[in-house]
Amino acid sequence: MAEIALKSLAHSYLATPGSPEDYAIREMTHVWQQGGAYALLGPSGCGKSTLLNIISGLLEPSSGEVLFDGQVVNALSPEHRNIAQVFQFPVVYDTMTVYDNLAFPLRNVGTSEDKVHERVLEVADVLELTPQLKRKAKNLSADEKQKVSMGRGLVRDDVSAILFDEPLTVIDPQLKWKLRRKLKEIHQRFNITMVYVTHDQLEASTFADKIAVMYEGQVVQFGTPRELFERPAHTFVGYFIGSPGMNLFDVRARDGEIVAGDTIIPLGRGIYDAVAKASSNNVKLGVRPEFVEVHVAPVEGGIEVTVDDIQDLGTYSILSLHLGDIALKARIDEDSPTPHNNAFIRFPDDRIGLYVDEFRVEIDHE
């Protein structure tokens, strides 16, 4: 068990990286605290697996340090880091039985057979593999194999951390949910640091206390699921988290007003000042579809928009709106009045985010 720190870590698969795009991991400093349940969330190819392999020692970073409890472990191989990792696709030792598979990581370091027996039975019980213990791993189904892979990680109770690299990809949805609960349970029981890589926000938020969102080789935000939802630190987080993602549109300050395209957006003084002060031309406002106020009749400060489409999802509906050239989404509850053809929307000041060069800028609301 250990706290895992990454210090000025960067990695490139190229021998002589030049531009920032050459880096799979751009320079980052990050700490995973001992005993935490973390998720590493991001789209395919953002460097999640690379980061995981660097932590486990399968990959040596181009620069920077990996520290376990303050000790630099860069030079240590995975064998010596005492870390467990579960891969995306099941890896089982074909010729061994399920029991021997689970016992393998313990036997490799000469654990006594009594201890092995005890741990294997415990893990098999948690993963519901007990009836399969005597079967050969080769003859298992894909999800059983993946449970065996996970079991080999969980069987070691002294590991620094357990890393999961999208472990539930091959598992069917029902079992997926159950296994996530199991993992959470195991986490609470053994208090082991767990890092869970996924591209599924639901998976991330059900498993983890804190989520690190990765985008183009960097962690753009590290926070609780609620923080990611309410205050995305980067436009990517806004767009990636939530369904549908955050509405983002370009704005500029003109004659004391905020304008998007040709439409004036009535907002508070604080927001106008922040937009006017922005040091870049890349200024965006972001508002979650959940926070867009939709009215059927004109209201004070309401902006008229056209309604393109209404998607009824049972307890709520998603509206596709057009504000000039800007496409927006809004979410309304089933009991609120449904607009036709056109509607009037308002953005609450405290629910709007300002993004300059894609990063969030805090606004001083008077």
């Binding site: 191989s77 064998e79 870390i83 990792q85 010729t95 490799n108 892979s149």
Partner: protein, 294 residues
Amino acid sequence: MNDKVRNNKAWWLILPMLLLVAFSAIIPLMTVVNYSVQDVFDAQTRYFTGTEWFVQMLNDPALQSALGRQFVFSLTILAIEVPLGIGIALLMPKKGWQASAVLILVTLPLLIPWNVVGSIWQIFTRGDIGLMGWSLRELGYSYNITRSPLDAWITIIIMDVWHWTPLIALLCYSGLRAIPEAYYQAARIDRASRWAIFRYIQLPKLTNVLVIGILLRFMHSFMIYAEPFVLTGGGPGSSTTFLSQALAIMATAQFDVGPSAAFSLIYFLIILLVSWVFYTAIMNMQKDKKERGA
């Protein structure tokens, strides 16, 4: 109601395949079966003999000892070539120009025709002009494959190992290349030793190619003919006369088509039986215990 038109004309479509199989396998085999149960004197005179030739062949001391030699030879070369082939495959470089270079070098012996291999080794082992024969003599060992059965045997085995280990090595090399990187990564995470990686990852993943390799090598070596024939001519005495050669002498030199047809069938059945037993045993190993008993 079934209102489909019944039309069996599609059966004609299998005719080409039937003809092909008939000419390539069934007719030649049946010719042999035909001869094996008859005593043929000339085109007009023949007698039905039933199982007589089979009984005679199975009791023939020359063929019995050739069969014994054949088993010793096949098992010996398998015992050497399989581990050696796996070892070479494990040591072969995995990428870069070295991989291509080594691949070509390893493949080279496989490209040489059988009887040329015999000739190469015949010259190579000559005491007067052959590099190996001459060197061994200079070192004080009276090496002579035409006098010493042991020398002849060892030389034939070395020759076969040289010629055919590359096949096992190539098969294993391709098998090893097909193992996903994740297996090695998982093994490192599980803190497996180099031996454990070989025993529990590489060897199991090689099972299929090894089954093919061993079967091919068994059948090949059990039918070996040209190489020892050119190298030793089956001698000294009959110490290196293997089955094919014994059969060839009987069928062509003595023109005993009946007995040699009977023996061909016995020969064929032995190869079939051994291959089947081996294959079944290997496939059975991969099943669960409870399935195995059933």
